[in-house]
Amino acid sequence: MLGSPVIERARRPGRRVPVWGLPGQAVAADRRTVWRVGRSVVEPMAIEVSTTDSPDDGSVGIVKTRTVQLFEPPASLTLAGGGKLDAVTVAYETYGTLSPERDNAIFVCHALTGDAHAAGRHGAEADSLGWWNDFVGPGRGLDTDRYFVICANVLGGCQGTTGPGDVSPGSDEPWGLEFPFITVDDIVGVHAALVDHLGIEKLLAVIGGSLGGMQVLEWAARFPDSLGSAIVLASGAKLTARGIAFNAIGRRAILVDPNFHEGDYYLTDEIPRFGLGLARMVAHLTYLSEASIEMKFGRRLQEGDRFAYDLARETEFQVESYLHYQGKRFVERFDANSYLYLTRAMDYFDLAATHGSLLEAFGRSDVRFLVVSYSTDRLFPTSQSREMVSAMVKAGRDTTFLEFESLYGHDAFLIEHDQLAGVVAPFLEQTLESEQRPR
């Protein structure tokens, strides 16, 4: 249980409120509305502590997402792009127990389409498992028997933290594209405020892959005294031109969808599902490696062994069917506007430009770094990790770098848990030891 003096405002119990997609239905006039799976909105629930039932599947058990309001007036969040947000709702989950010394907290930064639900399950259903459940739990890579693990949805997202799908203050309508521009710096600023709110002065580690890894880097550069170690997985100090290009294709697909309505689709009958689905299909392909696609699908057909000679049949090959399925599933859980904002934040991220140089970015801290890349990752190739590692070594940082041989491409950090745990667990142990050593 969280032993911090966190007191959250009690709210009405959560209830499902159908919002957009149903003709004639008005949007819930509550700015704390959050996106949920399915085309309905659930109000955040007020929960004092996360319930950690005795795990029977080796996971942390049943967990719930909590929310907290930060940057409330008179404070407000000034964004790197110049915008301002008065009050930000942050959805987060915690696992494990914070030690009395408050020195065992680890913050998990999720990737582009992740959420606060990293581990455990929300209910009895197996599909409610957290996105990193195999890596976060008792005896796992992030051992919840030893560490207090925090994961929060990113600013601009659509899974509980303030984003373009929320109702903008002083109006009855969701922000849409009126939502201010956000950057990775802003995302990290909000997470750091959450950690502060939880009463934790210094995190043992911040860990994340892909866009999550960018957040880790920014965190280490901007709040060097607030973390003991930084674990950067399948990521880089900036996105490559190729990565920006793929994001551009995804955004283009959304923007030209006739149902996009310049971002104001929340009150209409339809959402830009084709554009968002297509964006996901393209992006998903960049997460896989050539080898894994060949292995998984090859040229196999979905039904039978003969071509249909029918152009209307879009899911003839297994790989087609798979991509369509991924697109469809994604549309059910993600907001197109959030996708636009977050991919742009990813494009804009440039650690060296923000902090002068990589050397300056890494030079301000005593943070220990663990950098992991994957041999078949084409989105964040190993060369990007090497560039960072070089600067870390030059800056005199305690630096560990490892490229794993993997078949799984960019997604490997979400798949190959055991080998990752094999390096993360001892790295964390050493960090804890050196943090506890009197100086």
């Binding site: 070089s390 070594v393 630096t399 560990t400 770098f401």
Partner: protein
Amino acid sequence: MSATRYSMPGPDAELIDELLVDQIDKGSRVIDLGCGDGRLLDRLRSERNCRVLGVELGEAEVIAVIGRGLPVIRADLDHGLSDIPDDSFDTAVLSQTLQQVHRPTTVLREMLRVAFRALVVVPNFGHWRVRLKVIQQGRAPVTDALPYEWYDTPNLHVCSMHDIRDLVEQLGMTVVREIPIIRGRPVENAWWANLRADSAVYLLERASE
């Protein structure tokens, strides 16, 4: 012995570690190329309070180094040390590894690029037992100190102490110290070292400009 493995614990491993530790200044920055499981770095950190970094190719070895809580970078020495900036260390160590890389000259140059001094340990194929095996049997030598068949050996290059001297001179480096290891003992200025030494430790520096 897998070909990807650079560092091998030899019979003289502890002795050589001891010698290397003696050569390294307290509190200095040390990079160990082909650091194996990191045992030398562990000693340097605890006994010499050095700021250390290991470079190793083998995945299992890298994980072992991380397990010791030491910083390590997974890299192939044959692809150069481009991740390591110039002058980022005081001493670069290469123990029982030079004969196993494809381009020893590149590795030596890189060592003295990233560090001012280099400590290199090389097995001596000029040892009389090796020579005798070759003459007597007319076969590639397998001895206690070099226990590999020619077709299954991590040692890609066969060199004697004389050969190392020649190469180092050719590269314009200075041999500050040369310590032959003879029957498990370091013997500096030994007679007929090239016949008697199983291996030798070299302390190299950049030639003064």
